[in-house]
Symmetry: C2
Subunit: 390 residues, 2 copies
């Protein structure tokens, strides 16, 4: 059975960067070495670029290929952040930069899941993950989870998950803080998931895109920080959420050196590496995060409270992320689900349909309360209240 | 037989962006619409970013997700460039932005090649392409080609390729100007490849990363510009070479709207889209390309001539790209191939080993003559002449 610590067969048929075999010798050589092995031009672009000239001087190789694992200086800054804020035992060599969490998740699935294998998806889940498993030839098993935990916080998780386990299950996809439900898993819940994964030798793909975006007294915890869980977990982060820079397409995956080498083999075949200049631009923001991230979270916390107070639908208040997720079944008043989605659009509000987040959520909708300025969000609440009168 | 116009089975099991279904309705609505369907924050990043403030003002959504096909303004500029410089009949809707040509090639292979199918690789070839076919479960058939055309320019290409065709062949990978051989295919040669592909209903994956980087009287031609070939060809370009910005990880693929929709389904599962801000930064350089690209090419043309004149090995002068590719078999003088590569490294020059470019090239090496400043390249020539005395 190809479970932890085994990985997908496809990784045996590819090699990483063709220059990897020279890495140690090249590094030993120093600056005297003339590098003619890589296909890249020495000079900067000969046209105007809207980047601060001081930055380009500080990073003279900003326009060139970089280490396919990522810019080392950024991975150093992230290792410090992961150790202090996430209690993850990560060194720079445990980190590979990716084109957003999306890319990190896809590379993880390709590395772990072979055709015919099963992956447990705790639902509701981020929509594209389902397709990623399908592209690897795997099958998803949906486990209604985060919404269930709101109803039953003391659920015996290990016993519950056991009911969904198959002989072909190789990995489990967890996501906390959860998009779309806003659920933030607590230590007891994570511990039970971890125990279940260890007993059954399942890889854990831990999507932590909303790291740091929690409200009230909820705190984000990394499952990879639990005893003995680091080596069995792929912890995935992004610059799209708390860093508010989704347009940079930058994220990273954290795991053991050995597994990372295999993730890198997939990565270099998908896009070689994420952008060098994007990575260099994030070195400082990683170091200064504590100075600005609190204000950011408080701002969206206020918007959440405004939205929940004014929307005339009773719903579960999200513990983290910037989403509200709720069933509109009791508010249909004889209308079809899709008719209501269309009425929202006609009234001037777009919402995300629930079926994308799992087959059990076809009557739900997801609303992002951060995507527009507060006055526009208030306008949306008024419009929604006309579609869903109390 | 799953050849053109059929595509890979795996594309049937995934959908594109979950928001695609609302695209036309959302576009019809205008600015009054409050968009709460996508997971993104409205405000700019709350920390210092080394980007020109005027640029951020011009592109206020620089930090946000964009159309997964790419920033429209950039695709408009590229469509004009493709029509005028490449004679490709491309509109903006025929273009999808990717994370470099690497990503465009991988997305193409995943869209076209199912497990058990064959792909003809004209060799020598760009190394990662081989692995991409393997990751899709396909098999590569290597066809010694570009080096052969140097020896025999009038080769009957259609008859020659016929000898490698199998019943399971679905696509052909061509690359002109060719990395590593520097061969630039002429119109007669492209026409013969096109005729062969049409007769056998093979998709053509046309890697044109070195578009515009040709010397002497050689001109780059796009196979997709030949009569009736646009719909059967995926033309792939990048900002890594003539634009000298490999560190931006930006490229694009050009084909029919219908095929592009399927490429996009793979794309959104791999990385969602390439960076918004990277795309916006390239709008102006695409428009001004003719003003600076000639000087760039002339500069590397001079370095090519210097390298060829001073290196004491007889070799085929490359017609394009920034590589020299030659066999060192007659210069081994009793040494093993890998011993010589190691001697190069010890002498202070890294070269790329030939076997990565195809099984017929195990005794060859590739040198990039653009990766270091001219004085360093001259130093490398002196060092190489000591390893390969005449």
């Amino acid at each position: 059975m190809p479970r932890f610590p085994k990985i997908a067969e496809r990784t045996n048929h590819i090699t990483g960067s063709v220059f990897e075999k020279f890495r140690s010798k090249v590094e030993a050589h120093g600056s005297d070495l003339v590098n003619l092995h890589i296909g890249d031009a020495y000079a900067p672009p000969p046209y105007a670029i809207p980047i601060d000239p001081r930055f380009m001087k500080m990073y003279p190789r900003f326009n060139r290929y970089t280490d396919t694992f990522g810019v080392y200086e950024l991975r150093e800054a992230l290792a410090t952040k992961l150790q202090t804020e996430n209690q993850l035992d990560a060194r720079p060599t445990n980190i590979m930069m990716t084109a957003g969490a999306c890319n990190a998740l896809n590379v993880s699935v390709q590395t772990l899941v072979d055709p015919g294998e099963d992956v447990l998806l705790l639902s509701p889940y981020w929509p594209f993950f389902r397709g990623m498993v399908g592209l690897a030839g795997g099958r998803v098993i949906e486990v209604p989870f985060y919404t269930r935990l709101y109803e039953e916080p003391d659920l015996d998780i290990a016993a519950y998950l056991e009911g969904y386990l198959t002989a072909k299950t190789v990995a489990l996809y967890a996501n906390t803080p959860n998009n779309p439900s806003g659920k933030v898993l607590n230590k007891r819940q994570l511990r039970q998931i971890a125990d279940f994964a260890r007993q059954n030798r399942l890889w854990i793909i831990s999507d932590e895109a909303y790291d740091g975006m929690t409200f009230d007294d909820h705190v984000h915890l990394s499952i990879g920080s639990l005893p003995e869980m680091f080596e069995q977990t792929l912890s995935i982060f992004t610059f799209s959420k708390v860093y508010m820079f989704s347009g940079l397409r930058l994220g990273y995956v954290v795991t053991t050196d050995a597994l990372l080498k295999n993730l890198n083999k997939i990565m270099v075949h998908q896009l070689y590496s994420p952008a060098t200049v994007a990575q260099q631009m994030m070195v400082e923001p990683v170091k200064t995060r504590s100075l600005w991230s609190t204000r950011f979270v408080e701002h969206f916390w206020e918007i959440r409270d405004m939205f929940v107070a004014n929307l005339k639908i009773s719903l579960q208040v999200p513990e983290g992320t910037y989403y509200l997720f709720f069933s509109i079944e009791e508010h249909l008043r004889g209308r079809e689900y899709w008719q209501v989605i269309d009425e929202c659009l006609q009234a001037g509000v777009t919402v995300a349909p629930g079926e994308d987040f799992g087959k059990d959520y076809a009557q739900w909708i997801r609303i992002c309360f951060a995507g527009e300025p507060p006055d526009r969000v208030e306008l949306a609440v008024q419009r929604l209240n006309r579609i869903f009168p109390p």
